[in-house]
């Protein structure tokens, strides 16, 4: 009965598909897995805490989105916000990039139209993860244009979990950057498409993507300088062609016109110096094309003469026009933030308000590794592969990589711009290396006979195996590292704090919301709240009360005035508070719980900013230090510090609280010192509310006493 042994094999269902179909299926599978992963890895904070907006700026975005969703676009556009910058107010419609709000309001409206009752807050919370899924797909497309589909998939998988990007796009982190990275990569993709095809179609699409980018983030300036830089580089390398001429002319003309429709941008694209490079390159493009045309028509000697004259003439003319326009103020000088990009020490020396923001600090080396891990090493590899086979598109990604690594070094927050290019280049690097070695595995398996004769490749298969194993191990550690960083470092909402108690259970400090909600419920509707500007957005969004200064730090003197009030003695501060018509004052105090980013630790910035304007000349940083130059809050501390308003508000009645066993009462757990000024009463303020863990303290400004009392 041996006939049973014959096996006529059918093809498996997978094999039955044609290779193209298999290819598509695999790509779609990997890509959708990466997209889902990028969404779900950002949900740590929602699962651990709740669906809540994080940090500071997102609260403003959330508030404006809600306004837009409820009131419609025109009232949003004309919105004058009297809740902020009292008594100045703020024209919201003209001072923000509305892309983010419009995006989520549109999603909200569409869902509502489909009778899906979703809260605006939930749209806002999940917008960033959604857009990072889209970013994953765009990264794949872009990398595919630059190299091949394999690199695209690796890059997409990498960007889906890269911490440098996750830090700004976890669920709840509802900020411009969340969608801007998507817009940026989309614009790059379409730009590469336009450069490769040289059609107006792709150029126009690129301009539209650029418009979306402009509408959503101030970082578009990087983009509008990078694309011209690419064109210049192509000109220098002699790769300038009609394709590039068409692509750039379309993108620049359409893009500039579209970007001017955003009221916050207005005429900047033709006036400010940040945009001049793009304009210059546009002119240069025309010249180059013209020169190419003339060169093809004229004999060589004639052309040389003409070329030189034209060069000198245009150079002289443009310098003259530029100079005149700058002097007459038509081209605005560069803004502080832009200077600080070029010269990291600029802000520190000149504008304390820029320097005071932690995300504007230069990046440390460790945070490069922390945010990018494996990518840091794979980035140069990718660069090598790009250089080894230079194309128009590759030049772009090289430029993008090199410039953004510089900017990321200057400012921590620009790590965000670096992360995608790191992923793309690392993706190219990893994929190229893996392809090289994986091919050798194939060879070694199929025809073993040829192997014997290629003696110069010793142990080819084994080496390939080893290499691939090592690479795999690296990629696995990358995954673990990314997930760990996301879960530990980037998934706390910062509005709700949590700590471990002695027995290991979790304690939640919900003091911020407690205080804001108290303000919302139990103060008059028109009460004016003074606090340091960090908490401005949160107070307007959560407490719905008028504030003096907020995170949109456009008016330095106003912020400085608040800083002066905080840094002055009670009587002086009272004058300022009367002048500013303040009803309540809010301070953050971490001395009881050990929350270190409180107002006392920020106090020196208040002093610096307070003293940076004319009216605050009398406030000198030196006065707040001990004679030996230390900032101390204990008995040794400078008497001016120990009697200023901020100190008194933070430590009012704290002198009798026992915070730690074995320590005297009034022991500050952040500064690790017993406070120096304990028993004092407040004359012009009264304690209105203090939260459960004393994190937020609110004081009411007393009215002037009645005559004769």
């Amino acid at each position: 009965m041996s006939s049973t042994g014959v096996q006529y094999k059918k093809k498996g269902w997978l094999i039955q598909m044609s290779p193209e179909k298999q290819d598509t299926l695999l790509k779609m599978l990997i890509l959708s897995m990466a997209a889902i992963l990028s969404f779900s890895t950002r949900l740590f904070s929602v699962l651990r805490f709740e669906s809540v907006i994080h940090e500071f700026d997102p609260y403003f975005n959330y508030r404006t989105t809600r306004f837009l969703a409820e009131e419609g676009f025109y009232s949003f556009h004309n919105w004058f916000d009297d809740r902020a910058w009292y008594p100045l107010g703020r024209i919201i419609g003209g001072t923000i990039y509305p892309g983010l709000m419009i995006t989520s309001a549109t999603i909200y409206r569409v869902l509502r139209f489909l009778n899906i009752p979703i809260d605006v807050r939930n749209v806002c919370v999940f917008l960033a993860p959604l857009f990072s899924s889209l970013t994953t797909i765009v990264t794949y497309l872009l990398t595919k244009e630059l190299k091949d589909a394999g690199s695209g998939l690796v890059a997409a998988a990498m960007i889906s979990i890269v911490p440098g990007y996750i830090s700004r796009s976890v669920a709840g982190s509802y900020d411009n950057e969340g969608i801007a990275i998507f817009c940026m990569l989309l614009t790059y993709y379409l730009w590469i498409k336009a450069v490769k095809s040289g059609t107006i179609y792709w150029g126009a699409l690129c301009a539209i993507a650029y418009f979306y980018m402009v509408s959503s983030w101030g970082g578009y300036v990087f983009l509008i300088n990078l694309i011209p830089l690419h064109v210049i580089a192509l000109m220098i390398t002699g790769r300038f062609s009609h394709r590039i001429y068409i692509a750039y002319s379309t993108v620049y003309c359409l893009g500039t016109m579209l970007s001017m429709q955003i009221s916050f941008v207005g005429f900047q694209p033709v006036q400010s110096s940040e945009h001049m490079a793009a304009l210059g390159v546009f002119g240069l493009c025309q010249l180059h094309a013209f020169v190419d045309y003339v060169r093809s028509r004229l004999p060589k000697e004639h052309f040389e003469v003409l070329f030189k004259t034209v060069i000198f003439l245009t150079a002289g003319l443009s310098a003259l026009v530029g100079g005149v326009l700058t002097v007459t103020g038509k081209i605005s000088p560069w803004t502080g933030r832009f200077y600080s990009l070029l010269d990291p020490s600029y802000a520190k020396n000149n504008i304390p308000i820029i320097a005071s923001v932690s995300e504007h600090q230069p990046t440390s080396w460790s945070s490069f590794y922390f945010d990018l891990q494996l990518l840091v090493f794979m980035f140069p590899v990718g660069l090598y592969f790009c250089f080894s086979k230079l194309t128009d598109a590759n030049i772009f990604i090289i430029l993008y990589g090199v410039t953004s690594i510089y900017f990321a070094g200057v400012m921590v927050r620009l790590m965000l711009v670096l992360a995608p290019v790191m992923c793309i280049l690392a993706g190219i690097g990893v994929s190229s290396m893996m392809t090289t070695y994986a091919k050798q595995l194939d060879v070694s398996q199929q025809d073993r006979k040829t192997k014997r004769f290629e003696s110069n490749f010793f142990m080819k298969s084994e080496v390939a195996w080893t290499f691939l194993t090592v690479m795999m191990a690296l990629l696995v550690t990358y995954t673990f590292h990314c997930t760990w960083v996301t879960s530990e470092a980037y998934s706390s909402p910062s509005i709700v704090l949590s700590a471990r108690s002695h027995d290991g259970s979790r304690i939640i400090f919900d003091d911020f919301r407690e205080a804001y909600y108290w303000l919302r419920q139990n103060t008059p509707e028109d009460a004016k709240v003074m606090s340091w500007w960090d908490y401005g957005y949160q107070i307007t969004a959560m407490a719905n009360r008028t504030i003096l200064v907020d995170n949109n730090t456009w008016n330095n003197t106003h912020i400085s005035r608040v800083g002066q009030a905080m840094a002055s003695s009670e009587e002086k501060a009272y004058e300022i508070m009367r002048e500013l018509d303040v009803d309540y004052v809010l301070v953050i105090f971490g001395g009881l719980t050990g929350y270190s980013s409180d107002d006392i630790n920020k106090f020196l910035w208040m002093v610096r900013i307070g003293g940076s304007t004319d009216r605050g000349r009398h406030i000198k940083e030196q006065d707040y230090y001990t004679p030996s130059g230390e900032f101390r809050i204990d008995r040794e501390g400078s008497p001016i510090l120990l009697n200023c308003l901020m100190y008194k508000m933070c430590y009012y009645r704290f002198g009798s609280v026992y915070t730690e066993a074995g320590k005297p009462p009034g022991y500050d757990r952040v500064r690790n010192a017993e406070i120096g000024n304990k028993d004092f009463e407040l004359d012009v303020l009264e304690e209105a509310y203090t939260t459960e863990h004393w994190l937020v303290r609110i004081y009411k400004v007393k009215k002037l006493p009645n005559r004769g009392v």
Partner: protein
């Protein structure tokens, strides 16, 4: 009684209950023989229970008795109810009425269970509940002070009839009393003050009673309650209560000191936490407000209820307010009953918020399923019905009917069931799943159309021929698959034949298989000829495939004759085994080749 009739009956009853505003007269023949009043001011509400023994001294039997309230008390009245003290303690119907010649006063008519005959007495117990009747004095206190309240009342029972003898007992919140009016005889023991007995007090007598005492019980009042009940026939009813709550006691004066509050628990009249009791089957409870979850609450599941310990974000001092949303789900089967297409929803109009709660204004929204008809309401007490609305949620097309009911000034006694009767066709439950199915179906059709049809304007012959060729190859492979099946069947048929030697069935099978094989081979040949026309480069491979197939078929033929010979005894076993082994080897070889070839396609 049929169902419809029952509904009709219910409506008539409720009509009678709420809309009778009769003109009554005061029957002076009725006399209050004995009145015992119990005024409870130990919480934030004032609860007065009056036990009256009424005697009919006239000739006619009395069908009802009248009840009246002092003008200032009237404004604070939240609830009035009467129980007869006869056998079985039946509840008596009470409703407001008017007296033709006395417009100043307000009267309630209490209908007696049985007419009161001449000379007979009846004892009834009237329960009245007043809200915001206690006045904090001083109206502003500091954090460390205790809360004192005034109660202004009447020493006498305010009645349109003569009262022969009466006593009043006042229950206070604590022993400390600042002052109280002393209309003798009066006595105080611990937290009770007893007035009376007073004899022969004329109708509508008023003598102001004032009690000033300490009361640190929570003076919480719900200023607005939005209660939304969303009924789903799919299993759960969602209940969401949006509550505006404030401390209605003495207002906090001066600063709030967290230090004092934490050190010596000062602020005795403030409210740190309160308890809400939910139905026992409540699940997925949430407690939040506009800015997120309120992380301070505890839930205890008891046998007959779910007890929630709610802590507002901040302690509530006098004059402070807060706002929160409390929601939960209860299973439908506990509250929705049906017979056929007729449904009855039976739920509480308002639910427990905290003990001795006061709800100044409640709005109850009932969202019924889509497609509900013939909605009828049955309410335990008079409420105002607002115009119906429509509500749209997941997969709704025509909208769900929303019934909106409103009532002011509610207390614990108002926690009663109301009923909504409606008609709903069960088939409509399928509407939503069908909607999803249709939507997905349309989506897939769109995708299929997009993928299958060519929407390009330009004609690309290369792409076209490639697609054509790959289509043909796919067809060949499909037929080859079928052929493979046939090979298996050949082997199986031979095996079977060898074992059971059933010639007829074997012949039939082989015949069928032969014709199948022929069809499939024919189909492949057709595809091949088409490919030849296109000039495809795969022609050679397909021809090779055909050749291999023919060879294999040949081997099967050999095998079959061999087996037939063996069965018919023309061949001995030994030679059969040898030649069969040879054939099998050949078959294996061919099968391997075939496989390699199909894989390369």
């Amino acid at each position: 009684m049929s169902f419809k009739k029952r509904i009709l009956f219910c409506i008539t009853i409720s009509f009678l209950q709420f809309h009778t505003f009769a003109q009554d007269i005061i029957n002076l023949n009725l006399v209050n023989n004995k009145v015992e009043r119990n005024i409870d001011i130990s919480s934030q509400i004032v609860e007065i229970t009056t036990e009256v023994t009424i005697e009919n001294t006239g000739k006619e039997p009395a069908f009802y008795t009248l009840f009246s309230l002092e003008p200032e008390a009237r404004l604070h009245l939240a609830y009035i109810g009467a129980v007869s003290q006869e056998e079985g303690k039946p509840t008596l119907r009470v409703f407001p009425t008017a007296i033709a010649d006395n417009k100043k006063e307000a009267f309630w008519r209490i209908e007696l269970k049985t007419p009161l005959q001449t000379g007979r007495t009846v004892t009834i117990k009237v329960e009245t509940v007043f809200t915001h009747f206690l006045i904090p004095y001083p109206s502003q206190i500091t954090q460390s002070e205790r809360q004192l309240v005034y109660y202004h009342g009447n020493h006498y029972y305010y009645s349109p009839y003569l009262t022969k003898t009466q006593t009043t007992k006042l229950t206070l919140a604590s022993n400390s009393v600042e002052s109280y009016t002393k209309l003798k005889p009066v006595s105080q023991t611990d937290a009770t003050i007893t007035y009376g007995p007073y004899e022969n007090v004329g109708p509508m007598s008023f003598n102001k009673m004032t009690v000033h005492s300490e009361n640190n019980n929570p003076f919480l009042a719900v200023s607005k309650l939005h209660r939304a009940l969303e009924v789903s026939h799919w299993g759960v009813i969602s209940v969401e209560e949006e509550i505006d709550i404030h401390h209605a006691g003495a207002v906090l004066k001066g600063p709030f000191s967290r230090y004092d509050y934490q050190r010596d628990q000062s602020g005795v009249s403030s409210v740190k936490v309160f308890k809400t009791v939910l139905p026992a089957s409540a699940m997925d409870v949430y407690y939040r407000d506009e800015i997120g979850n309120i992380s301070t609450s505890h839930m205890r599941v008891l046998d007959d209820s779910v007890e929630l310990e709610l802590r507002p974000r901040f302690p509530l001092f006098g004059g402070w307010k807060t706002h929160y949303v409390l929601g939960y789900y209860v299973p439908t089967y506990e509250y929705l009953f049906n017979s056929g297409d007729y449904y009855v929803l039976k739920m509480r109009f308002v639910d427990h918020v905290f003990d001795d709660n006061v709800i100044d204004h409640a709005e109850v929204k009932v969202i019924l399923p889509e497609g509900v008809k013939d909605i009828q309401l049955k309410l335990p007490y008079q409420v105002q019905r607002k115009p119906d609305q429509l509500h749209f949620t997941y997969l709704d097309t025509i909208g769900r009917p929303v019934i909106i009911l409103e009532k002011s000034n509610l207390v614990e006694q108002h926690i009663q069931d109301f009923e909504i009767h409606y008609k709903f066709q069960k088939i409509l439950m399928l509407q939503e799943p069908l909607l999803v199915v249709v939507a997905l179906y349309l989506l897939f059709i769109l995708v299929i159309i997009y993928v299958r049809l060519d929407f390009t304007i330009s004609w690309d012959p290369q792409r076209e021929s490639r697609l054509h060729a790959s289509g043909l190859v796919e067809r060949v492979l499909k037929h080859q698959d079928k052929l493979t099946d046939i090979y298996f069947q050949y082997d199986a048929a031979l095996m079977k034949y060898k074992v059971n030697k059933d010639n007829s069935s074997y012949q039939a099978t082989v015949k069928k298989l032969n014709s199948d094989h022929k069809n499939e081979a024919q189909a492949i040949a057709e595809a091949l000829s088409k490919m030849k026309q296109d000039g495809s480069e795969l022609v050679e491979k397909i021809s090779e495939l055909q050749r291999l197939d023919r060879n294999l078929k040949e081997q099967f033929h050999h095998h079959m004759t061999l087996v037939e010979k063996l069965i018919s005894g023309k061949m001995n076993k030994l030679t059969f085994v040898e030649s069969e082994a040879a054939i099998t080897r050949k078959k294996e070889e061919l099968a391997e080749k075939l496989q390699a070839l199909t894989n390369s396609l």
